[in-house]
Symmetry: C2
Subunit: 220 residues, 2 copies
């Protein structure tokens, strides 16, 4: 397998950036300055699901494993990018929506859902009315034996869901989740890529910010 | 180039973990619990140089570029792991110490210095008395045209240096830095590896926590 130059699928983490409604607001503060202290140094305050991030089973599974317990390569591997941007914002991606991609998904794949919501990053209306993966769609991906599901917006779940059945279906069955990929995902619609997604290794947490790079597969 | 299974060179970020003396203490707090809130969620407080991390030029260079401005692959590539564990804790690695490795370093390499200090992670005495890279050693590596210098302890600099000449020599000339690699680095002494080091993408910061994986090169 030969790979090309990386494309960054990661949002920049900044003070006051878009987050899931109700999550802690990220803050970055410079605490030492080169002119006065001889060094520039900063302090970060982040929710565990800030910006482009991963979900560990512990997010929604009682006694589920945490970020530091995951295999470091759990989110790395061959990925297929599916175009679901025909779905109306606020609607759920169903098993029926996914069936047309059957022949492009292999067991062990990372499946990345491009909803087009990433084009509306930072727009207030979109924080509550975004395309999600419904429980049936999650079950369908589970049957395909995928290892990770990624999406280009704040959550795989319908906004303000009480039951969180999509997260529970995936995480409860060993399928991991990447959320808030940026709109560069559009560059790979319908293609297979190699994904490097490395979360920071935080002890006991339910999720963690990650850096996510997409590598084109040369000759595919 | 074929690569083997990844080895994690990253420390787990945890509350109260070892940091550079005077840096903000990391804290992780669970803010929502599955039993009460229907979800597990955490909040992180971190210094920009917590655990295994990278230094951007802005750390010690006036108007130097920040973490979010770096190429996402700036810390990725072929690396050579040098054994400097013969150096006494508290002493500086000199150009003379490095000369014996001349034939193993190529232009564009990442050079990882194994000092053995990583075996003393968490020991109080070691926080102030660790092996460092002296200014002459930094100048020598710069002449070899390496792209990144990594080390298996808190800093490339002598503890409590006022001048910070090693950082300034490297960062001021476009050579980036990785600090606090864990003791797994020992597994690759004298070898070439492929390094994937991905920092989180924090806006305007001087450094950032990173996930760092070492891949053995098969057939090398």
């Amino acid at each position: 397998m030969n790979i090309g130059k990386a494309v960054d699928l990661t949002h920049t983490i900044s003070k006051g950036m878009t987050t899931y409604v109700g999550d802690p607001k990220p803050d970055i503060k410079q605490v030492k300055k080169l002119e006065h202290d001889g060094v520039n140094l900063s302090r970060l305050k982040l929710g565990s699901h800030t910006g482009t991030h991963i979900d560990a089973p512990h997010h929604f599974v009682s006694n589920g494993i945490t970020v530091d317990e995951l295999d470091p390569e759990a989110f790395c591997g061959q990925a297929v990018v599916l175009d679901l941007s025909n779905k109306k914002p606020g609607s759920g991606i169903t098993a029926s929506d996914l069936k047309r991609f059957t022949s492009s998904i292999k067991p062990g794949d990372i499946v990345l859902l491009y909803t087009g919501m990433s084009e509306h990053w930072g727009e207030q209306w979109a924080r509550r009315k975004f395309t999600y993966l419904d429980e049936g769609g999650a079950a369908w991906l589970l049957q395909r034996k995928v290892k990770v599901v990624g999406i280009d917006y704040l959550s795989v779940e319908k906004f303000a869901s009480k039951e969180n059945l999509t997260h529970k279906k995936l995480l409860g069955n060993g399928v991991l989740i990447i959320e808030s990929l940026n709109k560069n995902l559009r560059k790979f619609l319908g293609k297979r890529i190699f994904l490097m997604c490395l979360p920071i290794k935080t002890k006991g947490t339910d999720g963690a910010p990650a850096r996510v790079l997409a590598y084109p597969l040369i000759g595919e």
